[in-house]
């Protein structure tokens, strides 16, 4: 291999890599600035330049790579899935149901998207695939009423985990965000400690708007953790680095396909390596 100096031209190249991975201007500048300060004009011997970049990105992500812990003191442990339209909520619920069942937990699902056409049928299919019963009401029913029934039933039946689906909503739609707040209020009438996790799904192809999504869903729905979906495409999901720096919210899982097993724990170093375009 050839030794390379981390010169200005190389730093510009690295800047492009980060911008094209959706890290955004501020986060990219901050990372490139750190590299300039710490490593400028030094030989990067035995190491790929991309490895240096990957390390630097990894530093931002390591603190947020935290697993989703199911506290068995809560029965059921209630998980509320939220996110913008089409980001992968329902599919992720299916994958989680499979995972929890494989861990030997009893799972129940709640078809809380009573709005979108055939959203209930979609979740019911995931329920059949994973052996999880699905609490549902006819389309057009009140979502918070459904959530109330589901928590009540999961508790009565002694389920370990209840995962509640919600309709997709854009975070700038105030009335829809209020509806989400209402769902949470109503859940708390059954169990004041619930929901025990509020997971926000972020689509990896989304650009800078994901920052607003995390901010507003965080404020209105008390998001406790993130899942990034659709990382099997060409999008790198680099906005997660900006999100980690700004909000420090745990990232639990990544989605890498449409199948029931296409869910992986979030690994900071792998994710950073992919952003940096480093061969693994």
């Amino acid at each position: 291999f050839t030794k390379r100096k981390l010169d200005a031209a190389t730093l510009d190249e690295l800047e492009d890599v980060l911008l094209q991975a959706d890290l955004g201007m501020d986060t990219t500048s901050a990372i490139v600035e750190t590299l300039r300060r710490d490593r400028f004009n030094r030989d990067i011997s035995g190491e790929d330049v991309r490895a240096v970049l990957s390390d630097e990105v990894g530093k931002a992500l390591t603190p947020v790579a935290r697993p989703l812990v199911i506290d068995t003191a809560h029965k059921p442990f209630v998980i509320l899935m939220v996110g913008v339209n089409g980001s992968g909520k329902t599919t992720t619920i299916g994958k989680l149901a499979q995972k929890f069942a494989a861990e030997g937990r009893t799972v129940m699902l709640a078809a809380g998207d009573t709005f979108r056409a055939a959203a209930i049928e979609q979740l019911e299919i995931w329920g059949r695939r994973t052996g999880a019963p699905v609490v549902a009401k006819p389309a057009g029913s009140d979502a918070s009423g459904l959530a109330f029934d589901a928590v009540t039933r999961a508790r009565a039946e002694g389920k370990d985990v209840l995962i509640i689906d919600t309709a997709g909503r854009l975070q700038n739609r105030d009335e829809l965000m209020s509806e989400l707040e209402k769902i949470i209020r109503v859940i708390r009438k059954v169990d004041p400690t619930a929901p025990h996790a509020v997971l926000l799904t972020l689509d990896a192809t989304t650009g800078q708007n994901a920052l607003n999504q995390v901010e507003i869903f965080g404020k209105r729905a008390g998001v406790t953790g993130l899942v990034m979906t659709k990382l099997d495409g060409t999008a790198r999901g680099g906005i997660l680095v900006a999100i980690a720096r700004r909000f420090g919210l745990p990232v639990h899982f990544i989605g890498v396909g449409e199948g029931v097993d296409d869910l992986q724990p979030f690994q900071a170093s792998d994710f950073a390596a992919a952003i940096a375009g480093k061969e693994q």
Binding site: M25, A117, A118, N172, G207, D232, A235
Partner: protein, 297 residues
């Protein structure tokens, strides 16, 4: 959250008013801010580069007039150039062919294909009095076919009866037959979402296109898409030669830079924008409005 480009340029050019022509130096400084604004608006880097060069050519030597600040002048140049690249004249959906005019909908997972299929069908039915048939070729996503069927019932548009265990290509053939025999003016084909690097599914898309001979092939893409917009638009266009783009979730608060990326990458017009989940949330594309958004105006 964003400091608008005008504010930033205002700061750079403070005190420059009435100083003659914009020098190369002035322009370079301004263009750094333009680059930053476009990247923050999710315009793909490659497109940002080309765009900034186009603006540079137009901006150097421009006379600084007394009535307008140099910042405003640069913003106007950028805005005009954005509108030019986005497409000055609207290119409407084209259904003028031997019926049924087939419209094939393609795109990534969750981009809004099924919803937009139904919205377009409703629009053609209500505004142009067309007899429309919709068919779902999505044999993969749980309840995808049921979703289109429900939407068809809601808007009063026929859907091709669901026959389990047919392949997408077989459904496309049956839809074409039914479209002809049933005397439909327009046949809308909804397809399963796919990532543009999924070789098998992209080959399937090409085969669907070959058997259905669509008059329009619309790429349905999320306005919130980031840097990946250029890759996905290019891949779909190379594979199935799209005729236009529908931008969805324009009701969000994203800056919509993907519009510029996809248009620049493919040269294909943005034909419609989707602005909500309801069936009437479909509008004609106005480049000026998207340009305003991209610039945070």
């Amino acid at each position: 959250m964003f400091e608008s480009l005008s504010d930033r340029l205002g700061k750079i050019f403070d005190g420059l008013r009435g100083r003659g022509a914009l020098s190369e130096n002035d322009v370079n400084e301004a263009l750094r801010e333009v680059r930053r604004a476009l990247i923050e608006a999710d315009v793909s880097l490659e497109v940002v580069r080309a765009f900034v060069e186009q603006v540079r050519e137009r901006a150097v030597g421009v006379e600084v007039t007394r009535s307008v600040t140099p910042g405003q002048q640069v913003v106007k140049i950028v805005h005009d150039e954005l509108v030019r690249v986005l497409g000055e004249t609207a290119v409407p959906l084209d259904t003028a062919t031997t019926p049924p005019a087939t419209i094939l909908m393609v795109g990534l997972q969750g981009s809004g294909k099924t919803t937009t299929t139904a919205k377009i069908a409703k629009r053609l039915k209500d505004k142009q009095n067309k007899k429309v048939l919709m068919a779902s070729l999505d044999t993969r996503r749980p309840a995808a076919m049921e979703q289109l069927r429900v939407l068809g019932t809601q808007i009063g548009v026929d859907t091709l009866p669901i026959v389990p265990s047919e392949t997408p290509v077989q459904i496309a053939r049956r839809a074409a037959r039914e479209g002809k025999l049933g005397g439909y003016d327009v046949l809308m084909l909804d397809t399963a979402g796919r990532t543009h690097i999924d070789e098998e599914l992209m080959a399937e898309t090409a085969e669907i296109k070959a058997v259905s001979d669509p008059h329009e092939v619309l790429l349905v893409a999320d306005a919130l898409t980031g840097q990946d917009a250029i890759n996905l638009a290019r891949s779909f266009d190379q594979r199935v030669d799209i005729t236009g783009i529908v931008l969805t979730r324009v009701d969000g608060d994203g800056r919509g830079g993907a519009a510029l990326s996809m248009r620049a990458a493919t040269g294909k017009p943005i034909k419609l924008i989707a602005t909500g989940e309801k069936m009437d949330a479909l509008e004609d594309f106005h480049p000026g409005r998207i340009a305003d958004r991209i610039l945070g105006m």
